[in-house]
């Protein structure tokens, strides 16, 4: 009798313990803070695709969209941390200070900040994608496919992320075609379909026959389709919006990273780190290459993609000069991450000045 009691007591304890562990593991709740609406079909939309991957992996998720990068962000973060979320992803650069501030108040909650560089507390990690690798591929295609040798580029805001993209694109295009000119138009918006379309139209009217974009809507590829020029999709595969114009797209693929980090919290293996993943880790994905591209260009692009993934080729390999002819990266060297992160000068061959 006595023995039976002890045995059942112990076994129920074990059972209870397993259940609790399982419950804890399953109960990890992740929250996502978005700058725009999930319906933008661009930046926020792709983060939300990543969130759905976390949900599919069996975790509970919450999201708050359209959160301004102000004191509002702090309020939202504090509320999410208070309501039982274990890991919070803040998906815009401007959340950098609010994230670190709130992280200090909630040491048991993990914070993941996208595209920033401040990790002031042990519970803050940062992550970003090497989109410039994708732009090396786009530049190679653009330089080969252009007939007018004028390439249009619709840019959003003068920040290192965008400048890096313009430089990487231009360097790659010049490599295959030294005669090209990159014309840049700043739209000063991340997404406003009307404005983006007008910017693209202006570039096309001035002779650009390939259009690249660093804004989020599909208006530019649609305009390219109408005008009969080539374009590239941004953030997601935009081929269906402009089947003739879109040669390929650079997709933002956050899902695997998000699932990885939420699982790490569940397993108790989460640690602070700074992640900057590119094509090699699958955070930057190149969509299918359009059949309008000649076969040899397609195989060249495939090889370049593999070489970028393996690290054999780096987007910023010297010699690289700035617009005034000063050496930025010496021959045989590649730009280090510090230089890339703070890149605010155009390379030689880009026309115009960076807006200040």
């Amino acid at each position: 009798m006595h023995k039976f009691f002890i045995r059942s007591f112990v076994s129920s304890l074990v059972l209870l313990f397993t259940f609790t562990v399982a419950a804890i593991a399953k109960d990890v709740k992740a929250a996502f803070v978005y700058i725009g609406p999930t319906g933008d079909h661009g930046w926020t939309y792709q983060h939300d695709v990543g969130r759905k991957a976390v949900e599919a992996a069996g975790f509970k998720t919450t999201y708050v969209e359209g959160v301004p990068e102000s004191a509002d962000a702090e309020r939202v973060l504090r509320q999410l941390a208070n309501s039982g979320h274990d890991i919070i992803f803040t998906t815009s650069f401007g959340y950098m200070n609010p994230t670190n501030k709130v992280a200090k108040e909630f040491p048991n909650v993990k914070f993941e900040h996208a595209t920033g560089y401040k990790r002031e507390h042990p519970n803050v990690s940062t992550y970003a994608a090497r989109f410039y690798e994708g732009r090396t591929i786009l530049g190679t295609i653009a330089g080969t496919m252009t007939k007018s040798n004028v390439i249009g580029y619709v840019a959003s805001f003068p920040i290192p992320e965008v400048i890096r993209g313009i430089n990487s694109f231009t360097l790659a295009a010049q490599k295959v075609n030294p005669n090209i000119k990159t014309k840049i138009v700043w739209a000063f918006t991340w997404y406003d379909p009307g404005k983006e379309a007008e910017a693209a139209k202006a570039l096309i009217d001035q002779g650009a026959d390939v259009i690249a974009q660093h804004t989020d809507s599909t208006a530019i590829v649609q305009m390219a389709e109408k005008a009969g020029v080539y374009a590239f999709g941004q953030a997601s595969d935009m081929d269906k919006f402009a089947p003739k114009a879109v040669l390929t797209s650079v997709e933002n693929n956050w899902g695997p990273y998000y699932v990885d980090r939420v699982k790490a919290v569940a397993n108790g293996t989460w640690n602070q780190k700074d992640t900057w993943h590119g094509i090699g880790d699958g955070m930057v994905v190149i969509s299918d290459l359009d059949s309008q591209m000649p076969a040899d260009l397609r195989s060249k692009v495939k090889k370049l993609q593999a070489d970028l993934a393996s690290g054999k080729v780096h987007s910023f390999t010297g010699p690289i000069y700035d617009q005034k002819g000063n050496l930025m990266v010496a021959e045989g060297k590649t730009a280090d991450d510090g230089m890339l992160a703070g890149m605010m000068t155009y390379v030689k061959g880009v026309e115009g000045d960076i807006p200040k």
């Binding site: 725009g36 609406p37 999930t38 319906g39 933008d40 079909h41 661009g42 939309y45 249009g152 014309k183 840049i184 138009v185 700043w186 739209a187 000063f188 918006t189 997404y191 406003d192 379909p193 009307g194 404005k195 983006e196 379309a197 007008e198 910017a199 139209k201 202006a202 570039l203 009217d205 001035q206 002779g207 650009a208 809507s217 599909t218 208006a219 649609q222 305009m223 997601s236 269906k240 919006f241 402009a242 026309e351 115009g352 000045d353 807006p355 200040k356």
Partner: protein
């Protein structure tokens, strides 16, 4: 830099295309305001028109149903405004602002299922005539029916207000609802009609954006054009022809500043981006600076609630 006659024609054509939603929404709002009602919900009605048009086009596949459906959606949402301000006598400004917030919210909700779907091609008229005449060809031909309607609208609106009896009634109701009421005019009915008309035009402006100009749906795609349309009405001193001028200047400077950037003109980009807003206001203020005319054309009872039983 390429400057030939056709290049200029292309630029003018794209300026006109960008002015279309502003003209439509402004001319609609102008009628509403001429009847004495200030509806700040233009942005909200536009975005409702945008999602309704796009959704109907995707679901039914019919462009005609979509265009008229978008106008009807504008009418329906403005009915809420009309009921609140005319029947329940609520404050125009507060109700209009609420309408905008409501429109943006509800369009996002309906739009969830329509993100990432490409739009259909909208037919254009006289495409074959486009290359027959230099300069004029690209300006006059190869546009959608909504485009032609928008450029006729300011003249129709002007004629309607100045030369027709109903136009006179609308102005009478806007200037002195009490006198109009004493003359046996049903002030509330006229104002209802003018509000619904404004809603229909805003809905059409939104549908132009989501179905013709940039055929797609994304949240907030009107991007503040409703507010610019509202400003145009005021700065044009309630004159439809000046609305046309204002919309052309605004659209024109937006597009020309992109061209200046692409050419490499060394003017700070931020200044160029602000230019359309600054210049449009300056020009409209200058061409309408006659204070006597402003007093005459401003609807005297604008934004004031009308109580019939006093």
């Amino acid at each position: 830099m390429i400057i030939d006659i056709n290049f200029i024609g292309l630029i003018i054509a794209s300026i006109m295309a960008s002015a279309v939603p502003l003209i439509l929404a402004s001319c609609g709002e102008l009628i509403t305001e001429r009847s004495g009602v200030l509806n700040l919900g233009v942005e909200g009605m536009m975005i409702i028109g945008a999602i309704s048009g796009f959704a109907l086009m995707t679901v039914t596949g019919s462009l005609i149903i979509a265009i008229f459906g978008a106008m009807l959606a504008g009418v329906l949402i403005s009915t809420i405004f009309a009921f609140l301000t005319q029947t329940l006598i609520t404050n125009h400004v507060a109700t209009g602002l609420a309408l905008t917030i409501f429109g943006i919210g509800i369009s996002a909700m309906i739009g969830k299922n329509f993100v990432g779907i490409p739009g259909k091609e909208f037919p254009v008229l006289f495409e074959s005539l486009k290359d027959t005449i230099p300069l004029i060809g690209p300006i006059l031909f190869g546009h959608s029916i909504v485009f032609y309607f928008a450029f006729a609208l300011p003249f129709i609106t002007s004629y309607f207000l100045k030369k027709t009896k109903i136009g006179l009634i609308v102005r009478a109701v806007g200037d002195s609802p009490d006198s109009a009421s004493n003359q046996g005019i049903n002030v509330r009915l006229v104002r209802y009609a003018c509000i619904l008309y404004g809603g229909a035009m805003s809905g059409l402006a939104g549908a132009y954006l989501s179905m013709i100009y940039t055929p797609q749906w994304i949240e907030n795609m009107t991007g503040g054009r409703g507010w610019i349309a509202l400003a145009l009405v005021v700065f044009s001193t309630w004159n439809p022809i000046k609305i046309l001028i204002g919309a052309m200047i605004f659209g024109g400077l937006t597009i020309i500043q992109f061209h200046m950037q692409a050419i490499g003109v060394r003017i700070p980009v931020q200044f160029l981006t602000a230019l359309p807003y600054i210049v449009t206001i300056i020009v409209l203020v200058v061409i309408s600076r006659d204070s006597r005319k402003i007093r005459l054309s401003t609807p005297s009872s604008l934004g004031k609630s009308f109580h019939k039983d006093n």
